[in-house]
Symmetry: C2
Subunit: 236 residues, 2 copies
DNA sequence: ACAAAGCAAGAGCAGCGCTCTGGTTTGTTG
DNA sequence: CAACAAACCAGAGCGCTGCTCTTGCTTTGT
């Protein structure tokens, strides 16, 4: 089943087109002034429509933000997948490091969008179901690397995990197709949090007066940290 | 030199008192509706003053947020310091784990304040200098644990660190009094990012459909992860 | 040919941050 | 004690926001 049916009437085509324009303009505003400053009225003004007309295409501000969130997840996911694909399949460590670099590169290039998806969620906001698939693209890449490593390499005996923790990650185990032992899944989660913890700290200003400001310093620092994380994954 | 001189006149006393009331009411609003929804007018209403009167005590909304940020850092810092103090000095691992638990406990109890200080910063916002001291209380606790461990325990030979990374963390080295080798400082940074990465993921909803929702599962998962982090610190 | 559905435009409501004006209170000084 | 400047308060007002409702017009499927 196709996710979107072909536009039969001119009206449907126009509707899709206008919705696209709204999304594009909104993304421009987002990258310039941040999510908090995004205003439906300003978007309408830019598009030469009156403010009320926007509500024909977007039910409200929150849902516009949701569309931008999905967009951001997909943009990040596509970049990361593309970067990771360029690496030789057997070079597991390099695949991991390339993935981390790609996430950071995207985040530095799209700080507001990064903040939108990995920063504080808006107060009453609950992520709708449409976001969970795009949101899992990066985790999927990481898990694939782990699976490849685990299935090919020598498998050290898995460290046993407490039952409570083991049941806690039942969903994650299912997501990975049951191909990974619990302790490796947990290491993967640790790597994932470390990756985003490091990027968030850098992007949200918590490295001020801690790690030198220059971009080469920041990159070297990040590199080093991710190599450390890779050690924890037994990738190095 | 005292940071605040004694209030001589009734007016000065009233001023301080009213400013305090404004801060308290603002904090109530923050914990209830989040930073984005915090409104000077609403605070004024709660206090029975007209909206313009607030500007006698607070220059603008941003500076009110800054005061709340400082408050939040101090609240977190005080809780963490208190918790960490209860542990036997020689039990370095336990001191570390207790610190992590204290951070998480505070974060779960004050999610909006956590989001305010560790979530996405407001677009044009630049943290003023007044925040850096309160912000470094938690890092200071972690570094003290590392110093105690390093100075007492057997010191494994430090892994050499690339020069670029070494110069990148010059500020951090200074902050730690030069008592720690670079590789341990870097492990400490990794632990710090992991800690906040883990808490941010949990608080900002990125563990949905990954780690089971129940608070005991979440706690067990967090415990496990922090023990893992401690291994990276060679604390375990 | 015609009703139904989709559309644009404008007015309007309640809220926001912030400023300005005019009038009052307070503390200090001649 | 009187005079005066500084600090205070209340209110009106500006321009912005999200969102709704009403009024007409146009496109669409029957």
């Amino acid at each position: 089943m196709p996710t979107s049916t072909a536009p039969s009437t001119a009206r449907e085509r126009a509707r899709i087109e206008i919705t696209q324009e709204i999304l594009n303009t909104a993304r421009d505003h987002l990258t310039k002034d941040g999510a908090a400053a995004l205003s439906l009225r300003a978007v309408a003004r830019d598009l030469g429509m009156v403010s009320s007309a926007i509500y024909r295409y977007v039910p409200n501000r929150d849902s516009l933000l949701t569309m931008l969130i999905i967009d951001a997840y997909d943009s990040l996911g596509a970049d990361v997948e593309k970067a990771e694909r360029t690496v030789r399949r057997e070079a597991h460590l390099e695949r991991f490091l390339t993935t981390c670099q790609a996430v950071r590169t995207w985040a530095l290039a799209h700080p507001q969008e990064y903040a939108l998806i990995y920063g504080s969620p808006v107060p009453g906001y609950a992520a709708p179901a449409d976001t969970i698939v795009p949101a899992s693209r990066v985790p999927a890449v990481l898990i694939t690397i782990l699976i490849d490593m685990h299935s090919r390499g020598r498998q050290p005996k898995p460290t046993p995990v407490e039952p409570l923790v083991s049941t806690a990650i039942a969903d994650l185990r299912m997501f990975s197709g049951g191909l990974l032992p619990d302790d490796l899944l947990l290491r993967g989660m640790a790597a994932w949090s470390s990756l985003f913890g490091a990027i968030s700290f850098e992007l949200f200003g918590h490295l001020h007066n801690v790690v030198a400001d220059g971009s080469k310093y920041r990159k070297a620092y990040f590199d080093h940290q991710m190599r450390q994380v890779a050690l924890g994954l037994r990738l190095g």
